[in-house]
Amino acid sequence: MARLSVQSLNALRDQLQAERAGREGKCRATVIVHMGTCGISAGARQVMTALLGALEERGIADVAVSSSGCAGMCSREPMATVQRPGEAPVKYADLDEKKIVRVLDEHVIGGSIVKEYALAMGSERAG
């Protein structure tokens, strides 16, 4: 590493913090891609890869991306759930690589639900 000055130390810190936001557990939203056998065979892997690629392109590190099992509606896979803090989770169905990117831009980043793709609001109760 090059010798640091106070300015370059601060710049480095800001850059490193942005990269490591997920490690700190600080996230503006969580996107869960349902990756049961049904989801994967319907293309959930491609959806996941497209989502991660789009996040990287946009330089966003504080969106948590997670996977989960089958959501129970195998016929509507690939599915994903978007959860923004303080808002009800939204499930999207019949996704593909392009749709997930639109969900990312409009809902995850923009804050407005993409109604055409949305299946339902809320999640099942646990237990």
């Binding site: 990269e19 997670s66 099992g69």
Partner: protein
């Protein structure tokens, strides 16, 4: 910029590493590669998480899921379930002792959420071998702030106002020590700062964990201290037995030098300072300031009388400021957040008198008969009960607590009645124990207090340098007396003799090793005198530890003749046929207790 969706923080502290956490890490990397997740998932080795009792530990971020006791063979399933399908694996989650439900989130586990982290602020969150990880968590910001916006005097004033006291055990106000070093006359202006990383207390591993988990925090504290004091060179005295700590220090030093954070013209501010590491040979007495400095000079590690303090004439007769690892690690946050922030935590009032209270937090290593063995950082003023029962999870195996020892070999044993004492420097000293460097040993009803005192006096006798008579001869004689009490040959007057020798050592020993050495004896006599008396007068050891005072017998009503005890006996003292009563021959029995542990019918009795 590569976005990683998941960060797997694998504990790489010594405790977890010895439980194969590096193999767990390798298994994680193999599985991640196999599932094509390498671009999405980061595996980060971190310093000690403190919860050593349940290691190897894995924290999955940003989810905050805490996995424990992982084995390499658990990993394929875990990667498939959690990383691919997003389902935390129940059976590797934490379950509190005596309960059935699991606690998935690290932040919900009582062991963690009752702690306040200052010295351990980066615990488990950084890779200690990467300076970038430290910088991302505000690392070197305090040094930058001090060097560019504060005068040395202003830095000193903040540390003084914070009320920070030496975490190595003495509890001497750090700001006063810095000020004395700064003011001490030095012909050529040479002053040193020294870091005491010679942690020698049995069962204490606070400093090791700080160095292994966050070495840069110690370096940054030393840079700030050197700037305030006017030192241009620093030394770290680390014991030989800490190879991982040493390695991490060396990596951190090189990284800091390459980045212009150590050496000439730090951060382009014109201030120059560098640090040298010295490996000690592992003598307990070298944790004492003058012995440490003698050892640093290349001489025999023996203390000297302190008519002249080391802040005036220390290492090579130059003004020297020696602080412990944890003290140095506390400095950067104090400079960054201010003295007022620090004084919000803790006891007393330090605004007028630096000895008026204990501020901030203290790191303790919890060991002994406690459920959650490990490392904890708690605010000063917390009670021993909260540490032992809320954070420590209480006593293992449903036994009753007998005593808590604080302060290592130089500390004392406090009985259960004193568990509501507030933990601070002065309260513990007043009760006959001490804060010490932070070892905390919990004992239950199966521990004999006389034997315990004998153990520590034995340790101290071996570690006494022998330079002064009170310590050398005092310990030898105390050891002899304690040994004979444990052997059932104690005499009337032995307790009083122990007290007399102790008083002499406290008055006349040369250094703190000798003056504090009687603490284990005096505190056990003070709070558990009846156990000493039982040993001497009745030939009885209620805990069943002192072998000369116990016999094992078979309870005829309970013995089923299963032969387990006879097979466990290493000296063939037990005879009996299958399904018939067994008998122990007291003349052959060497009282090892193997039959007692082996019997499943509680038929072996200890009297």
């Amino acid at each position: 910029m590569a976005v990683k969706r998941l960060h797997l923080m694998v504990c790489a502290g010594t405790g977890c590493v010895s439980n194969k956490s590096m193999e767990v890490k390798a298994a994680l990397e193999t599985e991640i590669e196999k599932h094509g997740l390498a671009a999405e998932v980061d595996v980060i080795p971190t310093g000690c998480n403190g919860f050593c009792g349940v290691g190897p530990i894995l924290l999955v971020q940003p989810d905050g899921i805490f996995y424990q006791q992982l084995r390499p063979r658990d990993i394929p399933h875990l990667v498939e379930e959690h990383l691919l399908k997003g389902r935390p694996v129940q059976r590797h989650l934490y379950t509190p002792p005596g309960e059935k439900g699991t606690i998935p989130l690290m932040s919900d586990i009582p062991f963690f959420h009752a702690q306040v982290l200052i010295a351990l602020r980066n615990r488990g969150m950084i890779d200690p071998e990467k300076i970038e990880d430290y910088i991302a968590r505000e690392g070197y910001q305090a040094a930058a702030k001090a060097l560019t916006t504060m005068s040395p005097q202003e830095v000193l004033d903040v540390v003084k106002a914070s009320g920070l006291r030496g975490r190595g055990g003495g509890g001497f106000p750090t700001g006063i020590k810095w000020e004395s070093t700064k003011r001490a006359p030095s012909e050529n202006g040479t002053r040193w700062v020294i870091c005491n990383a010679d942690e020698g207390d049995p069962g204490a591993f606070m400093d090791r964990s700080i160095i292994e988990g966050d070495p840069h925090s110690v370096l940054e504290g030393m840079i700030i201290g050197a700037y305030a004091i006017g030192a241009t060179r620093g030394f770290i005295y680390v014991r030989q037995e800490y190879p991982l700590a040493l390695k991490r220090f060396m990596i951190a030093l090189n990284q800091a030098r390459e980045s212009g954070l150590l050496g000439e013209d730090i951060l382009g501010t014109g201030f120059s300072f560098d640090i040298e590491v010295h490996r000690g040979a592992g003598a307990f007495v070298c944790g004492e300031s003058t012995a440490l400095m003698a050892s640093l000079e290349g001489n025999v590690g023996e203390p000297r009388a302190k008519y002249i303090h080391t802040v005036e004439r220390g290492l090579w007769n130059m003004p020297s400021c020696l602080n412990n690892v944890e003290t140095w690690a506390n400095v950067p946050p104090i400079i960054l957040h201010g003295a007022e922030w620090f004084t919000q935590l803790g006891t007393g009032d330090v605004s007028e008198n630096p000895w008026g209270g204990s501020k901030g937090t203290k790191v303790f290593s919890l060991a002994g008969k406690i459920n959650n063995t490990g490392l904890v950082e708690v605010p000063m003023g917390i009670t021993l009960r909260e540490i032992v029962f809320d954070i420590g999870g209480g006593i293992a195996n449903g036994k009753r607590l007998k005593s808590v020892q604080t302060g290592g070999p130089s500390g004392g044993c406090l009985p259960e009645e004193l568990l509501d004492l507030e933990v601070d420097f002065d309260t513990l000293t007043a009760a006959g124990s001490m804060m010490g460097s932070g070892g905390m040993l919990v004992m239950d009803e199966d521990d004999c207090m006389v034997d315990f005192a004998r153990f520590y006096i034995d340790f101290l006798m071996a570690e006494s340098c022998g330079k002064c008579t009170p310590c050398r001869e005092g310990l030898r004689n105390m050891n002899m007396i304690l040994q004979r009490i444990c052997d059932g040959k104690g005499q009337e007057g032995d307790i009083e003799l122990l007290e007399e020798i102790s008083a002499c050592m406290i008055d006349a020993a040369l250094c703190a090793l000798g003056t504090s050495a009687p603490n284990p004896v005096l505190s056990t006599i003070k709070y558990f005198r009846e156990e000493y008396e039982e040993h001497i007068r009745e030939g009885k050891c209620r805990a069943g530890v002192c072998k000369a005072l116990i016999t094992y017998k078979v309870d005829a009503d309970k013995c089923s003749g299963c032969t387990l005890c006879a097979r466990a006996c290493p000296v063939n003292a037990i005879t009996g046929e299958t399904k018939k009563l067994h008998v122990i021959d007291p003349n052959v029995c060497d009282r090892c207790g193997a039959c007692y542990d082996a019997c499943t019918f509680d038929a072996i009795i200890r009297v």
